[in-house]
């Protein structure tokens, strides 16, 4: 293990995080919230200073193996969450540490599950910081780090591998740094476009920024108690559209920008993603038609809810907890589908589902023709066995974490729907579930234990399970720690 490098990268992450606090500071100055601004300035300066001290010199050995990548990623995310929750506590808006951490982790992991009962009374400074955590967490802070900090060496890819969503990470261009830059440019451009469109549609400027950050990271923190219910239909449609856009694999946009449009639309994952959305919207529209009485509203609300759940954003334009059971079932199933790999969305990812369905078909085939040799293909290219195996392992690990979490959360004694959807909505980074944690409710009533379990679930879900597990697994450190200690003793 390369502990020096862990410290170095975490230090850099802290510098970036501290610098990004400039955005709430500027906002606070604009709204003349001097006391809040002061707290943010102090937190930012201390964070940056600590970060500089930690990353003062690049270690001679800057190799990052896969396990280092996983540990660094998990460590940075934990550090980020702790640092990010400090202003909430100091301003007194969320005084309790567990609650503040829950809110921040929910922000960085783009979950959007809140413990706030009264969002509208928060200061503008804290509201924009809360939404900004979505934007930072959406594409990932280490990817940002790779894009802006020149780091040489071929092993940096392991950082990106650990942080990016999806079963495999492809590069857009040969260099990690250029790839990270391209991803962030696309991300930034789409966000800016959304802000402009929202302002043009008549949304207040502050709301536009917060909503765009929430959509871009597929986060889901609203700045209104009723999320999106009180905004105009036009705004709801715009947000629906952008949520779907941010759930698409970013390679698709790269292909479009580089004029390989045909290839872009041939991406199986993107096609499947669109088909699932269209299918679900159609069924739900029919199912809730009687509630709204006209196609326009039913279509609008079903599209908004489907988009918000499949992209794991977690906004709401209607209280879908009151909708028919079939609709609720579809929405819960969509929670487990998730967005595309390589997008800012969470969940298990469409590409894993495709690979799994294909190996399912292959398995059936092997009973009919036992000697049949068939390779699974994706986008016309063979998927190697290692990948198929790792996808199966992913599903199982997911199931284990899910079950254990559900068991612990159910100690509280809430009904099954609440416990089940609370875990599902956090591990898949969606936010609102059903029943007690439905779109109009929040997580504040849960006990400390459940909140800590859900905090772990959110981080594990965002980082695709394994980095968090490797971070916590003692065997990762055992050997090298032991050898370090015995060296010291000698």
């Amino acid at each position: 293990m390369n502990y020096k490098m862990h410290l170095f990268v975490t230090g850099k992450v802290m510098i970036i995080l501290g610098s990004l606090m400039a955005i709430p500071i500027v906002t606070g100055l604009f709204y003349q919230e001097a006391d809040k601004v002061f707290i943010y300035i102090v937190t930012a300066l201390v964070t940056i200073l600590l970060g500089i001290l930690m990353s003062i010199k690049l270690p001679v050995n800057s190799k990052i193996f896969l396990k280092d990548g996983c540990v660094i990623t998990a460590l940075s995310w934990v550090v980020m969450s702790v640092v990010g929750c400090i202003p909430f506590m100091l301003t007194g808006e969320i005084p309790n540490f567990t609650n503040a951490l829950f809110e921040t982790v929910s922000g960085f992991t783009t979950t959007g599950a809140s413990i706030l009962t009264e969002v509208e009374s928060m200061s503008h400074t804290s509201l924009i910081w809360r939404s900004l955590t979505h934007w930072i967490g959406g594409m990932g802070v280490l990817v940002f780090l790779l894009a802006v900090v020149p780091m040489t060496g071929g092993t940096n890819m392991n950082l990106m591998k650990a942080e990016s969503p999806g079963p495999s990470v492809g590069k857009l261009v040969p260099k990690v740094r250029a790839t990270a830059k391209a991803l962030y440019l696309i991300y930034l451009a789409l966000t800016v476009i959304e802000i402009i469109v929202l302002i043009c549609c008549g949304m207040p400027v502050f709301d536009s920024f917060c909503s765009a950050f929430g959509t871009a990271g597929t986060g889901g923190f609203g700045i209104k108690n009723d999320s999106f219910m009180s905004y105009s239909s036009l705004i709801q449609w715009v947000v629906t559209f952008f949520m779907i856009l941010f759930g698409v694999n970013f390679n698709f946009y790269y292909l479009i920008v580089t004029k390989q449009i045909v290839k872009g639309f041939k991406m199986e994952e993107v096609r499947a993603y669109i088909l699932i959305i269209l299918g679900s919207v159609a069924v739900i529209t029919v199912n809730i038609f009687s509630l709204y009485g006209n196609v326009k509203d039913a279509l609008k609300h079903s599209a908004f809810q489907v988009a918000t759940v499949i992209t794991t954003t977690g906004f709401s334009s209607a209280d879908f907890d009151t909708w028919p059971t079939l609709t609720k079932c579809i929405l819960v199933m969509l929670m487990f589908v998730g967005a595309c790999a390589g997008s800012t969305g969470g969940g298990i990812k469409v590409s894993r589902l495709i690979i799994k369905l294909k190996s399912f078909a292959k398995e059936i085939d092997s009973y009919i023709h036992p000697n049949n040799i068939k390779t699974i293909k994706m986008d016309g290219k063979p998927v190697d066995d290692g990948m198929v195996r790792s996808v199966s392992a992913y599903y199982f690990v997911f199931l284990v974490i899910f079950t254990v979490s559900l068991l612990i959360v159910s100690i509280e004694g809430h009904d099954l729907v609440t416990s089940f959807t609370a875990v599902a909505a956090t591990i898949n980074n969606i936010g609102p579930g059903l029943a007690l944690v439905g779109p109009t409710a929040n997580y504040s009533f849960m006990t400390g234990l459940s909140k800590w379990v859900l905090i772990f679930d959110m981080l594990a879900g965002r980082l695709e399970l394994f980095p968090m597990l490797i971070f916590l697994y003692p065997g990762t450190y055992k050997k090298s720690l032991r050898s370090k200690i015995s060296k010291l003793v000698r």
Partner: protein
């Protein structure tokens, strides 16, 4: 030196392909590696910042996906000569501005390389086996040297020797050599244990140092004689392993009158070698058998070259040969990356075909990257990769031409080793001038020079 890198496609993630990918990435180029084996690609990507593409380098679809239209350079180094040629031809069809490099190793194509190059419009054909053999041959002509690199089409050489413990130069400084032996040479590096120095006049040499210097062959021989080395070429050689490089080496040695014995396991290969090399003695047997080696005359041979396909065998053979004879030993190492261990084994001269190929291609890439003012002719890595020796061809007037060297503001870590003016080798002093048409060789510890102006501060 912050030029944006070239985009380079490499087909074949073997030893040479991977070495190239690592080296060229370090030089700041954008590498796209194509290979049919996903495992090899994944291994490569674990430690190299390049893009990988699974597929066949000769399929137009794969090449299009790799972005052949915007690529500057195309390198084909798969196992198959024919595939390499085919890949380059297809690449050229897509993009006529692309420069192509193919590896062609088979002796059957030996005489046809100029024909292939012009007909298939391939910019460069490299033959690592041939280069490795040429390298070994140079060492056998001058057995005192550990390694020899040539510059200015062979008129200058960079020679590396080990000073014996009780040599007359032990305790003398560099200036002493200039005063008493010859001042027609430049010392560019001294390796002492793990340390590496670029010596100045007051640098004191010690027995056991490995010193590198640049001079013409004549001056070099005179110098070596003066400090007590035997400078005669070997008279006979024993080669273990009858592969392609053994063939090329034997061919060159026989042409200069050195008698050659080759030991090869495979009887069919032996027959082939004996038809191709009628003057050589071909022995069919296992080179790893010490009795067989004794019978073949290992104890009396002047030189011993281990060229089998297995690195470990080559190392063992060399250690054995050092043990039982006083022969000059040369070892070929293809794959093993434990450079430190190899250095500590004191194997004498070691040849790394993959590095030779990489050096050749990197000098070509640097030359392409440079503006027209000057061009990299050849580039070698020195002193365990800590320094580079580069020869430039000066093509145009620039800030470095026409000014006496003492008036140029040259970087600290640069030595101008020689200027070749109209074929005459000048070991430069402060009053010498670089003019258009000269070849200039420099040694520097700073990496990545692409043109002569880079030596300026």
């Amino acid at each position: 030196m912050n030029r944006s890198g070239l985009t380079i496609i490499i087909v074949g993630a073997g030893k040479v392909g991977c070495t190239l990918a690592v080296r060229l990435t370090d030089e700041g180029h954008n590498i796209i590696m194509i290979d049919k084996s996903e495992d090899r690609l994944n291994d490569l990507q674990k430690n190299t910042d390049c893009m990988i593409l699974h597929g066949s380098g000769s399929s137009h679809e794969t090449l299009e996906e790799a972005g052949i239209a915007d690529t500057d350079l195309f390198i084909a180094v798969t196992d198959s000569d024919e595939l390499n040629l085919l890949c380059c031809t297809i690449a050229k069809q897509f993009n006529s501005n692309i420069a192509t490099i193919a590896r062609v190793r088979d002796p059957d194509y030996g005489n046809e390389i100029p024909y292939l190059r012009s007909r298939l419009a391939i910019d460069m054909i490299i033959n690592p086996e041939f280069e490795a053999a040429a390298c070994a041959a140079r060492l056998l002509f001058l057995p005192a040297a550990i390694s020899i690199n040539t510059f200015a089409h062979g008129s200058a050489e960079l020679v590396r020797i080990r000073l014996p413990e009780d040599n007359m130069l032990d305790g003398k400084d560099i200036a002493y050599i200039g005063k008493n032996i010859t001042n027609n040479m430049v010392f560019v590096g001294v390796e002492r244990g793990e340390e590496v120095f670029i010596p100045n006049g007051s640098f004191v040499l010690k027995g056991g140092d490995v010193i590198s210097f640049v001079s013409s062959r004549k001056v070099c021989l005179g110098f070596l004689k003066a400090i007590g080395y035997n400078t005669k070429s070997v008279r006979d050689t024993l080669i273990i392993g009858g592969g392609k490089s053994a063939f090329y080496l034997a061919d060159q040695l026989i042409k200069s009158g050195i008698s050659v014995k080759i030991i090869e396991k495979d009887p069919k290969r032996c027959e082939y070698l004996s038809t191709m090399l009628p003057k050589a003695t071909i022995l069919n047997g296992d080179g790893i058998d010490s009795n067989f080696l004794e019978e073949a005359g290992i104890e009396d041979t002047d030189s011993f070259v281990a060229l089998t396909g297995i690195d470990e065998e080559n190392i063992m053979l060399t250690l054995h040969a050092r043990n039982v004879s006083n022969a000059k030993v040369v070892t070929k190492i293809n794959r093993i990356t434990f450079t430190q261990v190899i250095n500590s084994l004191n194997l004498g001269s070691v040849i790394y075909p993959k590095y030779i190929t990489a050096e050749t291609i990197i000098s070509y890439v640097r030359a392409r990257q440079a503006s027209i003012g000057s061009n990299v002719e050849v580039m070698y890595l020195l002193l365990d990769g800590n320094a580079e020796a580069i020869e430039f061809k000066v093509k145009e007037e620039s800030s470095v031409t026409g000014v006496p060297l003492k008036d140029l503001n040259i970087k600290n870590n640069v030595i101008i080793s020689f200027i070749s003016h109209n074929g005459k080798l000048i070991i430069p002093t402060g009053n010498d001038v670089i003019s258009v048409g000269d070849n200039v060789m420099i040694v520097t510890t700073q990496k990545g020079f692409t043109e002569l102006q880079d030596i300026m501060r």
